[in-house]
Symmetry: C2
Subunit: 246 residues, 2 copies
DNA sequence: AGTAAAAATTGATTTCGATCAAGGGTTTTA
DNA sequence: TAAAACCCTTGATCGAAATCAATTTTTACT
C-alpha cells in the first residue's frame, strides 16, 4: 500500500545509489563506516530536524520521501522541496549553524547521517565526496531559482504540469516508471509547495485529466501525453488544446 | 549621480570586506594573487555570464550591484537575486558545468574572478575559504527558500515591505545608512523579482508612502517607520493601520 | 467490520492584482 | 537642446485563483 520507494545502497560510498562512482579501497570503506551513521527509520510525519535546531548533520535519503518547510514570522508555512532517495537534506544549515527549515518524513524513511564535525575529516579522506556535496548544493540553488520562476510567473495549470513532469523525471532517474507513479504527498502539500489552494490543485488535476493528458486515481498518476504536459512549460510551438466541455 | 556602492578591498583575502578574518602569511597572500584575478569593470547592463555559457569561474562582487536572471522555455524571465559587494556569483554553475542563469551589472561593477580549475588548489591553500564558500552557498539556499515563501504566500504590500527591509539590512551590513538609500534597480526589475506587475509596484509604493511608512522620491528611499514595515512581515501583534483615504 | 477523522472534489462568490490605456517625467544620444 | 527612448504613475476594467460552503471518498483506528 504505502511502501516507501527503496533503493539499493551504493556499493561505492555506502550512502546511496546516486553517488559518483568512487573507487574506494577496503580500508577507506572502513574509515567511512566510522563516520557515516545509518539512522533508525523515521515514520510518517516524524521530524528529522526542525527550523531553529542547532545544526549538527547533513542527511542523505536512502529510502522514502521527505519534505522540507520554512515558516515565517506570521506562522505561514511553505514547503520548499520534496527529497527523493539519493538527495541531501540540511544543506541550508551550514551558514549560521542553525537549520533554517524543518524536514519531515512523508512516509517511512531511512537516512544516512553525516555529522558536521566529521565533514572536514571526510573531505580529507574523500575529496570527491566534498565536490559531490558542492554539486548538490549548486543543484539545489539552481532548482530553487527555477521554482522562483514558476511561483512568480506561471498559471495553476503550468505549475501542476511542471510539477508532475519533474516528479516523473526523478522517478525515472531512480529506475522506476516515468509514466506511472504514486504521489507521496497530499493535495494540500502539492498546493502548499506550488503556491495554490487545495481546491485549485484538485480542479486543475481534474481539468488535465479531462483533457486526456493524465489519468489520476487517488494518488496514482499515469501520464498519458508527455507532449501535452511539456507544452504547458512552453517547450512546444502550438498552444495546448483548449478544453472542450462535453 | 549613479555612482556604485564601493567598499574597501579586504586586507586579508583580497576579495572583499565581507570575508572571514583569515590570518594569512605573506607567501600565502602572494600565492592567492596568482589565482584570483581582479576583472576589468563591467558597465551598466553588461552581462558577466549568460545562462547556458560554459561554467568557468565564480565571482565575488567588489563594488556595484548585480542582478541574476533565469529564463524558461517560453522565454519568460525571472530575476532570481540582487547581489551586493561581498556576495558571490555563479554558485549555481558547479553541478553541470553550465551557468543556469545570467548575471548582469546594474551599474558599474568591479569583480574578483576565481577560476573554477583553481578551486581545488585554492581549497588546499585556504581550507577556510572553501568553508566560507560553502557557507555562502548554504546562505543562498536559505535565502531562496525564504523567497519561495514570499512568492507563494504574501500580498503585494508584504512583498514590497519585505524587499525594502532586506535591502535596508544589506546596506547596513555594508556600513551605509539603513534608513536612507538609493534603489539600484528599476521598478520593472522590482516587479519582476517580486512576481508583480510594474503598475502594482508603483501603486503599492505610493500606498506605503501615504501611510507614512516610507518616503520615496524616484530611486531615493527613506524608511520612516521600521515597525510598520516589520508589521507587514508578521513580526508584530497588531495588524497594520488600514489606509484612511483623505 | 464499523465508525470517526482526514482528504479530496465540486460549486458559488469574491477579491487582488494583471492588463489595458493614457499622461507626465527623466535620462540618453545625436 | 531637441527628440527619442525609457521609466514611472494613475485610472478603469477584467480575470484567475482564493475563499466560502457543502458533499463524497478515502484512510485510520478501536
Amino acid at each position: 500500500m504505502n511502501s516507501p520507494i527503496r533503493i539499493q545502497s551504493c556499493s561505492n560510498c555506502g550512502l546511496h545509489d546516486m553517488c559518483l562512482p568512487l573507487a574506494l579501497t577496503q580500508p577507506e570503506m572502513q574509515q567511512l563506516d566510522g563516520i557515516i551513521k545509518k539512522s533508525t527509520p523515521y515514520r510518517r510525519n516524524e521530524a528529522i530536524f526542525r527550523q531553529g535546531d542547532a545544526f549538527h548533520s547533513i542527511y542523505a535519503v536512502r529510502a522514502g520521501m521527505v519534505k522540507t518547510t520554512v515558516v515565517n514570522a506570521r506562522g505561514e508555512e511553505q514547503i520548499t522541496g520534496f527529497y527523493f532517495p539519493g538527495e541531501l537534506l540540511g544543506l541550508n544549515g551550514l551558514h549560521e549553524n542553525i537549520y533554517t527549515g524543518t524536514a519531515t518524513a512523508l512516509e517511512t524513511v531511512s537516512l544516512c547521517e553525516i555529522p558536521y564535525i566529521k565533514l572536514d575529516e571526510l573531505s580529507a579522506l574523500l575529496p570527491e565526496l566534498r565536490r559531490q556535496m558542492m554539486r548538490h548544493m549548486s543543484q539545489e540553488i539552481a532548482d530553487e531559482q527555477d521554482m522562483m520562476l514558476v511561483l512568480a510567473k506561471t498559471s495553476a495549470e503550468e505549475r501542476l504540469g511542471n510539477f508532475l513532469l519533474r516528479l516523473s523525471q526523478r522517478f525515472k532517474r531512480l529506475g522506476f516508471s516515468s509514466t506511472q507513479f504514486r504521489l507521496p504527498m497530499s493535495r494540500v502539500d502539492m498546493g502548499n509547495y506550488l503556491g495554490l489552494a487545495v481546491e485549485t490543485v484538485s480542479r486543475t488535476l481534474t481539468k488535465l485529466q479531462r483533457r486526456g493528458v493524465i489519468k489520476i486515481e487517488g494518488k496514482e498518476v499515469t501520464i498519458l501525453d508527455f507532449g501535452g504536459l511539456t507544452c504547458l512549460n512552453g517547450n512546444c510551438d502550438e498552444e495546448p488544446e483548449p478544453l472542450r466541455i462535453a
